[in-house]
């Protein structure tokens, strides 16, 4: 009965959405804050990638908060899943090819991840994307050898420090007399690797934090004892 009425409601919702869509106005898509940012971002932040400017400068606090969400989720995940019993059964190691592949891929993923993070202000990509690749670099060996484990203590120190760095850079701006999280340092030449002031530093912190957070979360999930 509930499923039936729920399906009816869904159809109703679809009809409502269609009606709303009919009334939507698409004429003024150019009149928005993003276009305003496009026209001033190059001077204000010095980053060639405007998405990066938005993520780290214009909406930097959002980014800080989403890092905090990841941090919190990882912390709660650890709290919920708890410590593994010592005698809990583990999956056996993967086969030779997967293990060797993982060993080979590890440095490659590390390099690619760092590259994407460091070029975040110039090209598509950045701390989040690179951070995920970093996380997978550390997670892959875990899949290949379920018996091994990631040192959660190191991860918690790294994530704490990376997050703190982000905030400290923001506070540094305050101590210089600007607002919290204002871009700092010399903006350099638009499009160069070393440019855009403090943004690459922030992205590095983001990348490391995302990498460690995700690696920690995935490791927690992988470590979780299997249900009998």
């Amino acid at each position: 009965m509930r499923r039936f009425t729920a399906a009816l409601f869904l159809i109703g919702l679809g009809v409502m959405i269609a009606a709303i869509y009919q009334h939507m106005d698409f004429s003024n898509t150019a009149l928005n804050a993003g276009q305003a940012i496009n026209s001033v971002a190059a001077q204000e932040t010095g980053a060639a990638n405007f998405v990066t400017s938005v993520v780290l400068a214009y909406r930097g606090i959002d980014t800080l908060l989403e890092l905090t969400i990841l941090f919190t989720a990882a912390m709660i995940g650890g709290m919920v899943l708890g410590k593994r019993r010592v005698d809990a059964p583990r999956d056996p190691d993967a086969g030779f090819i997967l293990r060797t592949g993982a060993d080979l891929l590890f440095p490659l993923l590390l390099v690619v991840g760092l590259y994407i993070i460091l070029h975040g202000h110039l090209t598509p990509g950045g701390g989040f994307q690179g951070g995920v690749i970093l996380a997978s670099a550390f997670f892959l060996p875990l899949l290949a050898r379920p018996g091994s484990s990631i040192n959660q203590d190191v991860i918690s120190i790294v994530e704490g420090l990376a997050g703190a760095t982000f905030i400290l850079i923001g506070l540094l701006a305050m101590s210089e007399g600007y607002e919290f999280l204002s871009p700092l340092f010399d903006k350099g030449e638009l499009g160069a690797l070393i440019s855009a002031g403090s943004l690459p530093v922030l992205y590095l912190a983001v990348g490391i934090k995302v990498g460690s957070e995700l690696a920690g979360l995935l490791a927690h999930l992988a470590e979780a004892e299997a249900v009998d």
Binding site: A6, L13, Y21, G34, N38, S53, V227
Partner: protein, 157 residues
């Protein structure tokens, strides 16, 4: 139906709304918590797409300074940044939901929403030292025959 009705906008928006509707359907219709969690993920994906589409116009270039592209030709970078944020939030919550689901499965042996609810009620009542109120929804049957046993086998590790 005229062809101009099926322009690019309509197709893209249909995709976004469609994803949302499928997600909502998964949340509302299914009883298995894993399906519900995936429903939320789908719904989020739809909402993200909707956000991306909010200032979409055809033919815009990526908002990155490349020779020959002036800012007016670029796409709006704000929704892209927002979606990036929203996706990461979604990932965090998804991971959290999965960790909780693992613990609930371990404690109650089921992820059926109705059964989890009953076991939860039972636990609260036991702790409080009161009798469990009789449920109007035929509790005995629900406990004996887990509806989604097939799904459990699929999703259980």
């Amino acid at each position: 139906m005229s062809m101009e009705f099926l322009d690019g906008n309509t197709i893209l928006y249909s995709a976004a709304f469609g994803l949302m509707l499928i997600g909502i359907g998964g949340i509302v219709i299914s009883n298995h918590l894993m399906r519900i969690i995936f429903g939320i993920a789908l719904l989020e994906a739809g909402a993200n797409l909707l956000l991306l589409l909010s200032t979409y116009h055809e033919g815009a270039s990526a908002p990155i300074i490349v020779d020959g592209i002036i800012p007016a030709m670029m796409a709006d970078p704000v929704p892209q940044a927002l979606v990036l944020t929203a996706i990461v939030i979604g990932v965090g919550i998804l991971a959290l939901a999965l960790s909780l689901a693992i613990r609930v499965q371990r404690a109650y042996g089921t992820l059926d929403m109705r059964e989890v609810r009953l076991r939860l009620e039972q636990e609260i009542c036991d702790e409080a030292g009161i009798e469990m109120p009789s449920s109007s929804e035929k509790p005995a049957e629900v406990i004996k025959t887990p509806v989604n046993s097939v799904v459990q086998q699929e999703s259980g590790s």
